[in-house]
Symmetry: C2
Subunit: 297 residues, 2 copies
């Protein structure tokens, strides 16, 4: 059994009745579990997390597209977050890293079905990308919904499935397969945003830091605390404690203390076990020894 | 829903056909999951781990007693481990600590049913004990099967349920309720057993060390490694990392290095999260954020 997580991001985070209808489309679909729904009004965006096997997930996600198409019109949508579609992005994530090929075929099949059934252009991204240029979601989303028509006129803008023009109200959709991502923040005892940015640069892959780590420096809602906001895009390659220790080293060097750290959203048990093992010098531990993992099987 | 773990210990660890029949009695019972079966030939003992709700567990455990009664005769049993019965000990453990009262009633009901159906005397122990003296399993088991008839003649030897004499072939049985226990070993880079024993004394509750911690020093199968073998009987009170750090401190003091540590058998995710949180200075983390815990619900 290959359990897959889908994290559809839809362009609606304000109208509760719409969010509820979209959640119901997922939750009422057989064979999937809707684990989470997080709406952000400023971003005007909702992120759902659901789990199931490939076929059941595809059915549930098609129901989500149908529900979104009826209720979301991007011509009347405003929000801070970049987006190209009503159902903007749908990453499929293997719970067991070995199931990545399954995720790639589910993404491909879903993309073909979305294009055929709803006449929405679909771009395949990250591990499901067919064009190297489309591995990065940022590239696909650049210019947003508003720039889509223009961008799609160029040969490089042709979607992987569907028509070479945006759907009038629903835009386009990016469907992909990717590894599980951990959103991890380290909070610093200072109000100096430059220090958070400096540490972010020191630890992130794009500036020669840790592999598979993205990081930016941001303010928090507390005036005397700034944050290194981090994505671990491959926690098997670079672990939570490696990131924490790197941030700690840089903070030490800059004479700043760490207040605490936080994990945003869901995290696979394996990532925490790795940190616990470091703390306890634990040897020979297998995930099967965790009671809840055994029960989940 | 109150999920309970039962860990019946039976006095048979050598004859595979008997062990299989006992496992089948549990596994074929509806509404329970048999998570683990570990046999030890030297101890001539098998420990099963199963999970379910109270009523289903009681039915499965009664099936185990029936299967054991047919196949195990303690008059012909030898093994290193102390034991008083064919089904020697049955602890019931709440997965959620708040469900301890449920475990106590399941233990009590099971005890009454075992006595009535099989004419086996039953002692209730630990949190299910009705006599303060019987909180400690060691007290009930002292003297073993061989000393049982003599011991039961005394007023203090009267069982909580069943006849005041051992069952001829199946002896007696201890049924109890207890908190989840973590079996945790720390391996030391030395062949000096005295050092392991000294550290065990320093950290265990009975000698004024850490609360809810039992520890002994033992040899391992590697000649240059001795071990502090530890039971955490209440990991919410004293955590894995507190134990590890105490052992580390004592080892430092005695000039001995730690090779590694190991968790034996199952461990609740919460115990590892606590160690990971320590390592990462993690704040505000809830068990609900662990993907597998969410799935297990």
């Amino acid at each position: 059994m290959s359990l897959i997580e889908a994290i559809p991001n839809v362009s609606e985070g304000r109208r509760p009745e719409v969010i509820e209808a979209l959640a119901a489309a997922l939750a009422d679909s057989p064979g999937v579990d809707l684990l989470d729904a997080s709406s952000d009004a400023a971003h005007n965006r909702t992120v759902f997390t659901l789990v199931g096997e490939g076929a059941a997930l595809r059915t549930a996600l098609l129901a989500l597209y149908a529900a979104a198409l009826e209720r979301i019109d991007l011509r009347f949508h405003a929000g801070e977050h970049p987006r190209i579609g009503a159902v903007d992005v749908v990453p499929l994530v293997p719970l067991d890293p070995a199931d990545m090929p399954v995720c790639i075929s589910v993404a491909t099949e879903l993309g073909a079905a979305v294009a055929e059934r709803f006449d929405i252009p679909v771009y395949l991204y990250e591990d499901a990308a067919r064009v190297p240029d489309r591995r990065r979601l940022e590239t696909i989303r650049r210019g947003g919904f508003e720039g889509l028509r223009e961008k799609m006129r160029a040969k490089t803008g042709r979607p992987d499935f569907g028509p070479p023009r945006p759907h009038p109200s629903a835009g386009a959709s990016a469907i992909g397969a990717r590894r599980m991502l951990i959103a991890y923040n380290v909070n610093l005892k200072t109000d100096d945003l430059d220090i958070a940015r400096q540490i972010a640069r020191a630890v992130r892959a794009s500036d020669g830091g840790l592999a598979a780590v993205k990081a930016i420096g941001v303010r928090t809602d507390q005036p005397d605390v700034v944050q290194v906001s981090i994505n671990l895009v491959d926690y098997e390659r670079t672990s939570l404690h490696q990131v924490f220790e790197s941030v700690q080293r840089e903070a030490d060097r800059l004479g700043v203390g760490i207040r605490d750290s936080e994990i945003v959203g869901l995290v696979p048990a394996a990532a925490l076990v790795s940190a616990a093992s470091r703390q306890l010098q634990l040897a020979g531990f297998t995930m099967d020894q965790i009671l809840e993992c055994r029960l989940a099987r």
